[in-house]
Symmetry: C2
């Protein structure tokens, strides 16, 4: 009997190891997450060896999904279109927790200290804030304006000082929520900022928040170091004198590129990238490109800006040389280039090509493809280095 | 016999688990490494919970030691003063490999793709480059000048394009090693750059390399986007009209702070921080501080610069407000404040206080101490977020 007893003892001792053996003992700073929009799944990938590690399923409607990362980069928080907020374990390849927190949502952010996750909602509107650890609701910030109507919330970003900043589409407001005391959020409201803010971005240093206006030809800027100075209109009538085309896909402001002192931004409804001087917030150049730009992203060293396009030009990517302000390279990765993500130090760029079910990896020096990963209808690509970035 | 046989089978199966159980399944993006200079050890810490995780011993002479991280942030490469290069496993708390590669060395760097680790040597001089994975020697770059003499190598940094940049102290040279083909390093040499370059820094975008000159009152700049334009002298005679004090401790150039468009740099031999406009490379202000500055580091949002000092003022830290260019706060953490490191998104600052055997953690908004970790004679503090930074 005794040996059998020992066998059982060993069996029991081994159980934790067999559970653990499904998780990985490995660094997490080089992991990435690829959204498979059609199948409600994400692929977790190794960005050093260009290898898939896990596919995680059951994340709901992932059209227009995005993700942020815990500060240890073990977990991703995935924001689905259906109001689902899912906490995914990158080391063990599973969903730790999932809450459906609204009817329709559009992205989120993680606080400076990594303890709070905020989600911006279309239906019923407003921002919900959760504890990152447990996904327990911490605060529910309505988006009701003076007339009592609720607005869709867009352009939600984190800012230094444990703040979240966001825009109210119908109300035409920008709000800053200071979450230093999570039980007593301090909200600052800026009304009459302009017509239909549709997305927002924050500069990489977390100082300037900018909303794009769908109902007007211009943008709104708030200096978060001096919020009391209020919102400021910039780039008014930037499309003046040119006939705007029908807009096939709204550009993403989060993708606007800061390179050196310049901001590169897609001109809505034009085949152009606008170059804005960050010190004056005035347009200093306009670069003609292949189609209506969607994302413009700067290589981390600020020497190149990569641009993808809306239909019917979404098979193409162009690379702008920041010094000459010329298109230096044109690539044709395939139909449905939806998103691009740089390796943190810029040596490689990953892009998703939806219609060929592939993520392609390019050397940003030679412009040659150096790898690929199969994925089902891939859209967003997010690397864990974002955990350390303000506003991403 | 059979049950016993099974027992042994299970024992064998369990071995990997028992080895693994000493390692952690956890994210690595929030880890840090604290150098214990007197005991040749490092402490691995959890920067989210302010907790020590491991002490790793046997790293040799760690006076003036520094570290870089693998791109997955699982491993630290620790550069000792005795020429030792140690690869430390942060998840398992041990030394994976250690080579003593020179008689006396002074820091190192990791290549853009994370595959090469370079060490700069005083004795016998030159740069040795190792495979990050195995620590096998890949290239040995001598630092011999035209007259045949070997120089101490200082100011070694990584730069985009798989390059390393460094300065030759005796020869007065800057060199750029392109390691794209590790078997055939391409070296560019710049001679007659000035007298005794003693340290170097690279701007956070990896574009500008700057050497400080010990033998002259000025600095040398190379634009790495256009290296053929050659070196350029900047800030000549920055101490003019003021009598320099004896220098108690050389400032570290790596610690120079870039905040917005300004560079904050310690004035050698003066109780002052110089503010330099990055677009013109001219001095625009000078800020009086409490002693001879050693490190000046910018909070990641660029709103504060923290400064520590040489003896006899090394018990003090001052915080400069970047907008007003005034000292806004003075802290007295204790004697022997040697190094400072910001949380990647800036909410906290860690500093080592050698003479009280402590690392203290401050909230950078309230300026209050919010945590501490015991460490034996702590000096350098390095967080894994550096894995994703150019030049760190």
């Amino acid at each position: 009997m005794r040996p059998l007893y020992i066998v059982w003892a060993w069996l029991l001792l081994c159980i934790p190891s067999s559970v653990f053996s499904q998780c990985m003992v490995r660094g997490t700073a080089d992991l990435g997450l690829i959204v498979e929009r059609a199948t409600g799944s994400v692929k977790i990938v190794d960005t050093t060896n260009y290898k898939p590690l896990y596919r995680v399923q059951g994340l709901g409607d992932l059209s227009h999904a995005s993700a942020v990362f815990s500060r240890d980069a073990r977990y991703a928080y995935v924001f689905g279109r259906d109001g689902g907020l899912s906490k995914v374990d990158l080391l063990c390849g599973g969903i730790v927790k999932r809450v459906v927190q609204a009817g329709n949502s559009i992205g989120g952010a993680i606080s400076q200290d990594g303890k709070l996750v905020a989600v911006s909602n279309y239906t019923p509107g407003g921002v919900k804030i959760f504890e990152a650890e447990s996904l327990q609701l911490v605060a529910d910030l309505p988006a009701r304006s003076a007339d009592g109507h609720s607005s869709k919330v867009v352009g939600l970003v984190d800012a230094p000082g444990q703040r979240f900043v966001y825009s109210l589409y119908e109300a035409g407001e920008i709000r800053i929520a200071d979450m230093r005391d999570p039980q007593r959020p301090q909200i600052k409201q800026f009304s009459d900022i302009g017509n239909q803010p549709y997305d927002g971005l924050i500069t990489p240093d977390g100082r300037h928040y900018i909303s794009g206006l769908f109902g007007e030809d211009g943008l709104v800027l708030i200096d978060l170091w001096y919020p009391d100075r209020g919102p400021q209109r910039i780039l008014d009538h930037y499309g003046k004198g040119k006939k705007a085309l029908p807009v096939y896909k709204m550009p993403h402001l989060e993708g606007w590129a800061m390179a050196g002192d310049s901001l590169f931004l897609p001109a809505v409804g034009h085949h152009a990238i606008l170059v804005v001087d960050r010190r004056t917030w005035k347009q200093v150049a306009q670069i003609s490109v292949h189609g209506q730009p969607v994302f413009a992203v700067a290589r981390p060293d600020g020497r190149q800006v990569w641009v993808n396009f809306a239909l019917p030009n979404n098979d193409t990517v162009q690379v702008i040389d920041v010094q000459t302000l010329q298109v230096a390279h044109t690539l044709r990765p395939g139909k449905g280039v939806l998103h691009m993500e740089f390796a943190p130090r810029g040596e490689a760029l990953w892009l998703s090509v939806r219609d060929v079910d592939q993520v392609q990896i390019y050397d940003t020096h030679t412009m040659k493809q150096i790898g690929s990963i199969e994925a089902v209808k891939p859209s967003g690509i997010f690397f864990t280095a974002r955990a350390h970035k303000i506003g991403l």
